[in-house]
Every structure is written in C-alpha cells, then in structure tokens.
C-alpha cells in the first residue's frame, strides 16, 4: 500500500512537498489542482488527474505529459489500494 495524495490547489503544494520525499507517492489532481504548476510535481511520483475536471476547464491539450487522466471509478480503485493523504 502506497500513499495517494489527493490534491486541490488552495494548499495542495503542502501535500506535494511531502510527496517529494515519498518513494511510493501517487498524486491525484482534483478540481483546481489541475492548474498547479507541473514544476511542483514530485520527481518520482505517478501523477493522475480527474478527467472531468480537466475536460471542463478546457485543459485537455495543455496537460503536462506526466499526467494521466482517470475517471471516478479508477480513483475509487486507487483509494482502496492506497492510504489517502488528504490535501483538498
């Protein structure tokens, strides 16, 4: 079981800074979290974003190449497989 960082924008940076030290970090960007500067993404972490939140913001083509879009069903699977580190 790794750690799933659920990240929104308001103070998501606090979570990303912890994830930087976390060898098993999985990051899921939700809501305005999809606007976070990719320079802040933890180096080794797997980065996901909620597809709906990306699409409705018109960010499909602007998304950083490290980010993979997932739906809520996939997010639930990640929640079940990991410990949720809440920053949203």
């Amino acid at each position: 079981m790794g750690n799933l960082y659920l990240i929104n924008k308001e103070y998501g940076e606090n979570g990303l800074k912890l994830a930087e030290y976390d060898g098993e970090a999985v990051v899921v960007l939700i809501q305005d979290g999809v606007y976070i500067d990719p320079a802040l993404y933890p180096n080794k972490a797997k980065i996901y974003a909620i597809k709906q939140d990306v699409q409705k913001r018109g960010l499909n083509d602007r998304l950083h190449k490290r980010v993979e879009c997932i739906d809520y069903s996939q997010l639930v699977d990640l929640i079940v497989e990991n410990k949720v580190i809440n920053f949203a």
């Binding site: 659920l6 939700i30 809501q31 305005d32 909620i50 709906q52 739906d71 809520y72 069903s73 997010l75 639930v76 699977d77 929640i79 079940v80 410990k83 949720v84 809440n86 949203a88």
Partner: protein, 117 residues
C-alpha cells in the same frame, strides 16, 4: 469490499467539493463499497430539502439523495446544524441523520479509508 468514510466541510453552490465527494461516493457505491459520510461546517447545507437554483441541472440535495438510495449513511454535525439555524434536521431530505463528532469518531473506527473534502 471496502468501507469508505468521508468528511465534507464545504457547502453547495460556491465550491466544487460537494460534487467531488458525491462523484467519488457514487462510484464507490456502484463498485459495491460501503459509504459513510459526515457533513461538517457548511457541509450540512448540502442535503437541504428546499434547494432551488436555476443554473444547476441537478440540485446537490438530489445527488445526496441518490447516495442515500444506494445505501450511503449520511450524518450531519449537530453543532453545525444548530449554528446555521437549521431546525434539528427537519430541513433535510430523508435519510440524513443529525449527530455529533462522536459519530464521526465512530466512522473513523469503522472505515478502511478516509477522504476529507
């Protein structure tokens, strides 16, 4: 199957958290997981019976009702309810119970995962 606990601290109409919470909870219920949700602070505004707002296609209370219908247990913080002048839960859709933080403590002891939004 897992038990998912939620704490929702934001109300409807101004922030997206209620929607994210409902979307995750719905997907979890549809996969056969259990959902227990605690409404804290403005979170208690989400299941108000008499919501109307022309700009939203689906009212937040109807999203919460959908979760209740799928088996979610929803508890609202009593202190938060009273602070906002809501009449001891009479203002809520059926299925939403008014409780207190000890109920949340119980949720924490029961669930496998905890999501706070």
């Amino acid at each position: 199957m897992a038990k998912l606990g939620f704490m929702l601290t934001l109300g409807p109409f101004q922030f997206e958290n209620w929607e994210t919470a409902c979307n995750i909870a719905k997907a979890a219920l549809e996969k056969g997981h259990e959902v227990k949700m605690f409404l804290y602070l403005d979170g208690v505004y989400n299941p108000i019976k008499l919501q109307t707002f022309p700009d939203l296609p689906v009212m937040p209370k109807d999203r919460v009702a959908e979760l209740v219908a799928k088996g979610a247990k929803i508890t609202a913080c009593g202190i938060c309810v009273n602070a906002r002048g809501l009449e001891k839960g009479k203002d809520f859709i059926p299925g939403v119970v008014v409780g207190g933080l000890p109920d949340f403590a119980e949720i924490v002891s029961e669930v496998d995962k905890l999501i706070t939004l």
